[in-house]
């Protein structure tokens, strides 16, 4: 079984190489990308089953080096679950973009670059999830970031270059911080292996621990878009092509959250910054969602809600009980799927209505009832209405917090509920204006929302285009996945709870050595 583990990282890279060589043959590229990601999905599902039933994580020492020195790939339940979810999302967005590319005749985007970059992005994400040492995590981050630089500036139009620069410079700074943190950890502990770090960390003086802890938190918080380090996200995501934004919103910040989970549970199980994390989580939730309320453009609204909902995950981490960690992981899975689905639905709206401004678009309910449904279901899911998975995740988080029961927990629960309601308000206002409002609506509504008129991109207009069937089908498929998260919430939540339990007893070095047979 361990032979399957390196394939998660190498298959997408191999696919990227083939796709690059086949740059002139679009069908070959599409075929290679779909086959690669499907294979990864199957392998990840097998690994998840093996790891979950066996109860033992899988570890592979790459190149046969002894364990604390060489690169270790490490698949536990958390890594396997996240690889499964992210490969589902990557596959769906790929199908969506194939549909879009086929309809547009590929004259706008240089598609020969898109597929290789997309597969390299996938390889980076998977590498980060299965990394067993900090430096390999850094390399995984860099692989996915470099691919994302290419994807976010795809087509190199003026606006994409401008926003791409923000994204790239911010990512570079966070990478340098991460590298410096790794160097300092190596200086203090003499290892970069995560299992060994967690064993040795307790021997350090508390202030050194705190310094290293904060360095890592800073680097990961930029990637995860935690307030106040989230300023770059709502600025840079909306200009990218719709499928790219969808996959970025779903996955890239979650890789940062994943790194935060590892930091809090495995590396620094003794060092305690939970109060700081709670304050930051509250600020992330509230500030993010207030940003969403002030926007008049659907992609920007969603980018701001993305920031605010990262706050829930940081909140879960700050509670730091097994139940809370389990709830965080369930919420993370829910959010990856729902956020991606919403961005795909907005991609459909943009093509159908020729704009994503909620002031311009109207009457979609009558004109395109299917799109309206595909927007409505994930929107109320994200807003946290029962019975959907957003409600289950939030309820589990609040329940875990209430069990701790300190006053600051109560404040955070109230903050979380307010955030949830405001998210619902922002998304439902978009629903009322763009879908529910009739095409020949009187000016009365417009005078009531005139304060939104000066918001950025309020009047932007793009070209109306036909929507190929495959785009609608893919989005519908993703909506079905969000509903499946609700229907199969029981087994999935049990799995997340098991992850939460196992994460708080991190694997030791000897276990890791036994696992790779040394």
């Amino acid at each position: 079984m361990t032979a399957l583990v390196p394939l998660l990282a190498t298959l997408p890279l191999l696919g990227a190489a083939i796709a690059l060589i086949a740059g002139r043959h679009r069908r070959v590229q599409v075929g290679v990308s779909i086959v690669t990601l499907s294979l990864v999905l199957i392998i990840a599902a097998v690994l998840l089953y093996v790891v979950d039933t066996g109860g033992q994580p899988l570890a592979v020492s790459v190149g046969g080096w002894p364990v604390p020195f060489g690169i270790v790939l490490y698949v536990d339940r958390l890594a396997a679950l996240l690889v499964v979810v992210s490969s589902i999302v990557l596959l769906a967005v790929l199908l969506f973009s194939v549909g879009q590319g086929a309809a547009d005749g590929d004259d706008e985007t240089p598609v020969s670059i898109f597929h290789p970059s997309y597969l390299i992005l996938a390889a980076g994400i998977f590498t980060a999830f299965i990394a067993g040492d900090l430096f390999n995590l850094y390399v995984g981050f860099e692989i996915l970031l470099v691919a994302s630089y290419v994807l976010i500036t795809l087509g190199s139009t003026e606006s994409r270059i401008r926003t791409g620069v923000v994204y790239i410079v911010v990512s570079l700074v966070s990478s340098i911080l991460f590298l410096a943190a790794i160097a300092m950890i190596y200086g203090a502990l003499g290892t970069v292996n995560m299992a060994q770090i967690s064993e040795r960390m307790a021997e350090l003086p508390p202030d050194t621990q705190l310094l290293l802890h904060l360095m890592l938190l800073l680097a990961f918080s930029i990637k995860a878009a935690v307030f106040p380090l989230s300023f770059w996200l709502p600025d840079s995501y909306p200009t990218a092509p719709a499928p790219v934004t969808a996959v970025f919103a779903g996955l890239l910040t979650k890789v940062g959250v994943y790194a935060l989970i590892r930091t809090e549970t495995q590396l620094f199980s003794d060092s305690d910054v939970n109060v700081l994390l709670m304050i930051v989580a509250l600020a992330t939730m509230i500030v993010g969602v207030l940003g969403a309320v002030a926007q008049a453009e659907l992609k920007r609204i969603l980018s701001f809600t993305l920031v605010s909902h990262v706050g829930y995950m940081v909140f879960g981490l700050a509670i730091a009980t097994p139940a809370a960690i389990g709830a965080t992981i369930y919420y993370m899975v829910h959010h990856i799927v729902v956020q991606t689905t919403l961005f795909l639905a907005i991609g459909l709206v943009e093509r159908r209505a020729g704009s994503t401004s909620i002031l311009r678009v109207k009457g979609l309910m009558r004109a395109a009832p299917v799109i309206a449904l595909l927007y409505f279901i994930p929107a109320i899911n994200l807003g946290g209405l029962p019975p959907f998975s957003g409600f289950i995740g939030k309820y589990a988080l609040f329940d875990a917090a209430a069990q701790v029961g300190t006053p600051i927990m109560m404040v955070l629960i109230v903050g979380g509920i307010v955030t949830s309601l405001l998210t619902l308000y922002a998304l439902m206002r978009a629903w009322n204006l763009s879908f529910w409002r009739e095409e020949d609506d009187s000016t009365e509504t417009e005078s009531r929302i005139s304060y939104l008129g000066s918001a950025p991109a309020a009047g932007i207009k793009t070209e109306r285009r036909v929507i190929p069937l495959i785009m609608t089908t893919t989005t519908a498929g993703m909506v079905a996945v969000t509903i499946a998260l609700t229907v199969f919430a029981g087994p999935l939540y049990d799995l997340c709870a098991r992850i939460g339990d196992s994460l708080l007893e991190p694997v030791t070095l000897t276990q890791l050595q036994d696992e790779v047979g040394q």
């Binding site: 470099v146 923000v166 570079l172 700074v173 160097a183 600025d235």
Partner: protein
């Protein structure tokens, strides 16, 4: 373990200069800042490697130094190299598009500023200050900073690839030069 003070001082200076340069609006300076930061991080990896003076990775006698940070540094150098190549391409594209390699305000910034201006005349001074006029480091360079030798002329004159010149500054067509 003893640590070379010189290395630490140089590293600190590189970090400081790198951060300072990255705060500029000009993308070329941001690139320079990034290179300085990258080298500073590599120096930090060298500092944590251990006592100076040991044999680099293989010695028959005496202490050998720790090879792992060397491997980490090499990887980091390669990554920095690749990213700077990408940044250079990005800067060049930015220059092609707008004859500027600076970062401009985004529409949200401008909207916020305009809203504030509408309400408060006192904001004028600051808004004036923010409107940065220096758009490029290549002052007085009319053509692209990177020149491509034309096939026609090697007699001392270089010409640019046609796409290097932004449309507004392209000289008027003289008799339909097909190149």
């Amino acid at each position: 373990m003893t640590v070379s003070l010189v290395l630490i001082v140089i590293m600190a200076a590189l970090f400081a200069c790198g951060v300072y340069a990255m705060l500029e609006r000009s993308l070329t300076r941001v690139l320079i800042g990034f290179l300085l930061l990258g080298n500073a991080a590599n120096l930090l990896l060298l500092v944590v490697m251990g006592d100076p003076g040991a044999a680099p990775f293989y010695g028959t006698e005496g202490a050998t130094s720790d090879p792992l940070p060397q491997a980490l540094t090499l990887t980091a150098i390669v990554i920095t190299f690749a990213v700077s190549a990408f940044l250079l391409a990005l800067i060049y594209r930015s220059w092609q598009l707008g004859q500027a390699d600076t970062f401009t305000d985004d529409e949200a910034d401008i909207a916020v500023r305009e809203r504030a201006l509408a309400h408060e005349a006192a904001m004028d001074a600051e808004a004036e200050f923010l409107r940065d006029d220096a758009v490029t480091d290549f002052v007085g360079v009319d053509t692209a900073p990177i020149t491509v030798l034309g096939s026609r002329d090697f007699s001392g004159i270089v010409d640019d690839a046609p796409s290097d010149r932004p449309a507004s500054r392209r000289p008027p067509a003289d008799g339909g030069d097909p190149s």
